[in-house]
Symmetry: C2
Amino acid sequence: MNHEFYFPYNVKAALKNDPPGEWMPALPEGCIRLSSGYPASELVPSNGIKAAVSTLLEEEQDLPLHYLGSPKMPRLKQQIQNRLAERGMKVQEEELLITAGACQAIDLIARALLDEKVVVAVEAPTYMEALEIFRNYTNQIISIPVDEQGLRVDEFASVLAERKRLGLVLPRILYTIPTFQNPTGTTMNEQRRMRLLELSREFDFLILEDDAYGELTFDVSPLSLKALDREGRVIHVGSLSKITAPGMRIGWIAAERPFITAFAWFKKDLDHSFAQSAMAVFLESIDLEERLKKLKGVYQRKCTLLIQSLEKFFPTSVTWYVPKGGYFVWVRVPGVDTSALLPLALSAKVSYVPGKYFFSNQDEGIEYLRLSYSFESEEQIEKGVQILGNLISNHLKNHLS
Amino acid sequence: MNHEFYFPYNVKAALKNDPPGEWMPALPEGCIRLSSGYPASELVPSNGIKAAVSTLLEEEQDLPLHYLGSPKMPRLKQQIQNRLAERGMKVQEEELLITAGACQAIDLIARALLDEKVVVAVEAPTYMEALEIFRNYTNQIISIPVDEQGLRVDEFASVLAERKRLGLVLPRILYTIPTFQNPTGTTMNEQRRMRLLELSREFDFLILEDDAYGELTFDVSPLSLKALDREGRVIHVGSLSKITAPGMRIGWIAAERPFITAFAWFKKDLDHSFAQSAMAVFLESIDLEERLKKLKGVYQRKCTLLIQSLEKFFPTSVTWYVPKGGYFVWVRVPGVDTSALLPLALSAKVSYVPGKYFFSNQDEGIEYLRLSYSFESEEQIEKGVQILGNLISNHLKNHLS
């Protein structure tokens, strides 16, 4: 049977754009995972969730296991609304959709707002899963560079003006991770945020703000785009994955009601009543503020150690951004193809993500790599960076000689 | 802001086809739910799942709460493969995709195989959520009637031949619930199954087999289409919702590998590692065969009682199919618009689903209603049918006088 025959043209194109499976190789046993954007094991509240599940099922028996779920379901929404409100985002119940993580959120937004005629603007580099999702809907993706202060909004303004002058289709959506960006760890400064919102009015586009890391700030960070938005142009995506447990698959979209109605319409996995009810009970059982404080302390220490290790073990030609929150450090290794180096690193039992995966045009990422300090212990971080540093030094020596 | 402006044409069309919210009214407090296709409360294994979660998190701590999940994840797949094998469906690991329930499974299949040029054939009546999903992708839906022996395969053959003669586009997919169909409760007999598979070869279409109720047979039922398929034309959708707990959101697709690759590609909510790991541990802790035996016994008793109550309390003009498994009884009430009657029934605190929702052309469903015996107790079923019977008798009297 010729299976290809049954796929419509756009699906065939999507599958061809990103052949499934062309992604990071499997990590060897015992590998130091500097590639993984996972929360630290000791910060994943397994006891708290165990207790929440027990409480929930003792109190409500089968209720949370049905389609409709427990009366606690609306409380999860309320808890998220409260937290958003504390961060300056006033969101009504009808303006919030719970999703199975941020990835599903981005996919639903793409499903409802993109087709092959729509132009999407993304940061370069950006979150590779988001890139993958957009490519499933359109080939018209334009990349705008990121520097130490986040998205180059000035450059984006020039691109918009130039496209307008030339009569080209303007982007309808900009996808940005303004705070502790994945992969660069950088944060868009406040002036750029204000200018970006101005541009969205002037050139009539929507802003998809991915705020997965926004809570994990080491000191202060600017208000979210959603909090600064006065026009309803920002579609805000958040997640509990980085601050509780990714395996619970709880994320959300906050946006104006007509958008939420459309996103909800295309969400066909229904409410995950068990996971959502359990999360509601868990959140009620803790002081979230305290939890966040603890998380920030741990991640800040790990981040500092990673940076110190880079200074200690990496050749002086290597540069990086120092993040003020989040999970990642973005490293430039001049003269090294980080994809080609990866098998050596994996043999030495350290992983990282080669920069190419974060770019629409993969060539732009050749000299970069993403390190994550979130998952491994301080000891392993130091050891991993040392191994990588040696590898890179040797590689550069061999290359120069 | 004009939100509509930002939706592509096909999304606007989908939202217009099925205006969100035009669905069953809310049920009053204390209503006897003969509308709900939920498992019976006492059959939802809340203690078993509580124990499974405790075991899992004590043994593995944070592991099942991460993205990758517990080493138990592959066991869930293995358990489903084993069960499918016992039912004559030999499926390799790469031919199986775990989904968040059957609804997400159907949506993923639609996402990968449909566009506005594709013709889909459905049963009339059929599962309304599936209809809704197909309409999000194409307007070309043709309906084939169902009788006591399931889909009228002879009629489908005539439609196919006629469309071919006229040079019309042939359906690329047939969606069927061959066993204990939703809403009619009927089962496609074996001759029709064989003939349908022949037709799929002759006219080159795929069969989407929704087998959500297939395990709940009161005596014997024919082999699934997937088990009878020799060509890889059947895409089989199953679910644990009806036999364990819908709130866990565990379903699957079994199909040839290139299809599974495509469906997996468009599944962006990732694996639900916590729910899937917990379900794996739960299934290991029970004897599924025993569990199914118990379920069948309970549902058969309830079904018998519902049928007896219909005979006792409904006017003689009313007819129905006697199901041999599943959750539903399909009732025809000649001369009554079941949609118009619903508010009266809800005032009297009994619910059912009006037939119109199950038809692409809603007018065909006016005189029908779907009753579910799965959720309510035997006492409530009898009471509910009595109330409905009185309502219908009065309505018919008033109408005739």
